[in-house]
Subunit: 217 residues, 2 copies
Amino acid sequence: MKNNRANRAIDRKAASLPTIRRLPGYLQVVRQAEQDGILVISGTTIAEELELEPIQVRKDLAVTGIVGKPRVGYVVKDLIAALEHFLRWDQTHTAIVVGAGHLGTALLGHTEFRKNGMNISAAFDSDPAKVGKKFHGVKVLDSSEMVDYIKAQNATVAILTVPSHVAQELCNRVIEAGVKSIWNFTSLKLRVPEGRTDVLIQKEDLSSGYAVLSVRA
Amino acid sequence: MKNNRANRAIDRKAASLPTIRRLPGYLQVVRQAEQDGILVISGTTIAEELELEPIQVRKDLAVTGIVGKPRVGYVVKDLIAALEHFLRWDQTHTAIVVGAGHLGTALLGHTEFRKNGMNISAAFDSDPAKVGKKFHGVKVLDSSEMVDYIKAQNATVAILTVPSHVAQELCNRVIEAGVKSIWNFTSLKLRVPEGRTDVLIQKEDLSSGYAVLSVRA
DNA sequence: TAGATTGTTAATCGATTAACAATC
DNA sequence: TAGATTGTTAATCGATTAACAATC
């Protein structure tokens, strides 16, 4: 198997971060259209639904490789497939939740993830009171089993919902065990070990959202 | 009392959305420095901590009105105050959580919000099994009491964690009752009633983060 | 056909980065 | 003083928006 990033450049156009972040919104609208029995949808329609500019929608959709029909729009079925494929939501990613606290268990119940290819197969916690319990059908295992589990199950995604003071250490451990993507819900900026350019850390920052809410209100 | 937005323009420089979103990160670093007994901190140091460019940190901090000392940096105590004031985190905002599901109750336990001026005083749900319960010290009340409660408590923020299909209706109801800011955790794009330019809806989008994680991995 | 929509190429806008004088 | 850091002004970079020919 060759380098993933290089291969990807061939079958995908480059997409900016803002574009990538808008794609799920498009997918949601188009999936809804499919539910409503609509077969073809125009960029203009999608734009109205999301209060965006039609030109922005067209440009964004273009990164998926979808080709529309002038005068008509995009074939709904094809557009969904193109979006899902570009997002890699058409394949299963095995994930674990690290930290079975309030937020961690809430994410276990988030059905939307599963619909989009992310299969959370276990949660881990060091609290004996939590170990062995099940939340939303997902079992909480002891942290000491985490590394072996990641290797055995070939988990590629770790969702970090632990207290800040243990976040970096657990980050290191999941990377060591083979995790390729870390979804960091802690308020701490995490660092990847020196030279591990194959690992991605995505920070999910509630305080940023709260800042916008506070300042713009 | 005069128009808030107009007043604000006088004592605050305009800040771009990206800048606003980075401010909580700076605040976190500087609060940590204070904890460590550090009295003065340079933009360079903050930048290193967050893996940003020093010039970006300086430019961002400037929006708060803080003035640093060449050769030295910023007085930690003053910088914290400036950031908190700019973010309006130095005053209390009364908030309610609408929808006491997994995510809603998780947010009730999020202590960081309280530290930053957001006081979640109640949660609302229409499920009789949930009404009357307490999560993390916050009571769940019946949805039918919501409008009266917002008026009586002068709640200005509503955190929406309800199923998509009831989100728009509840959005309308909290606005009607006087809420000025809605933090929308549903996957639905919400609309404010015609002409209500005094209401802000901030979408908190887990699927955007997941998209970045999936595509960049 | 007439007209709406796509997709490309160019223009604009805004955020980031660079350069550098001022300063403690 | 020497040198690190601030804050301002200018340059660059990248994303958004506009214009428009192609097309079904």
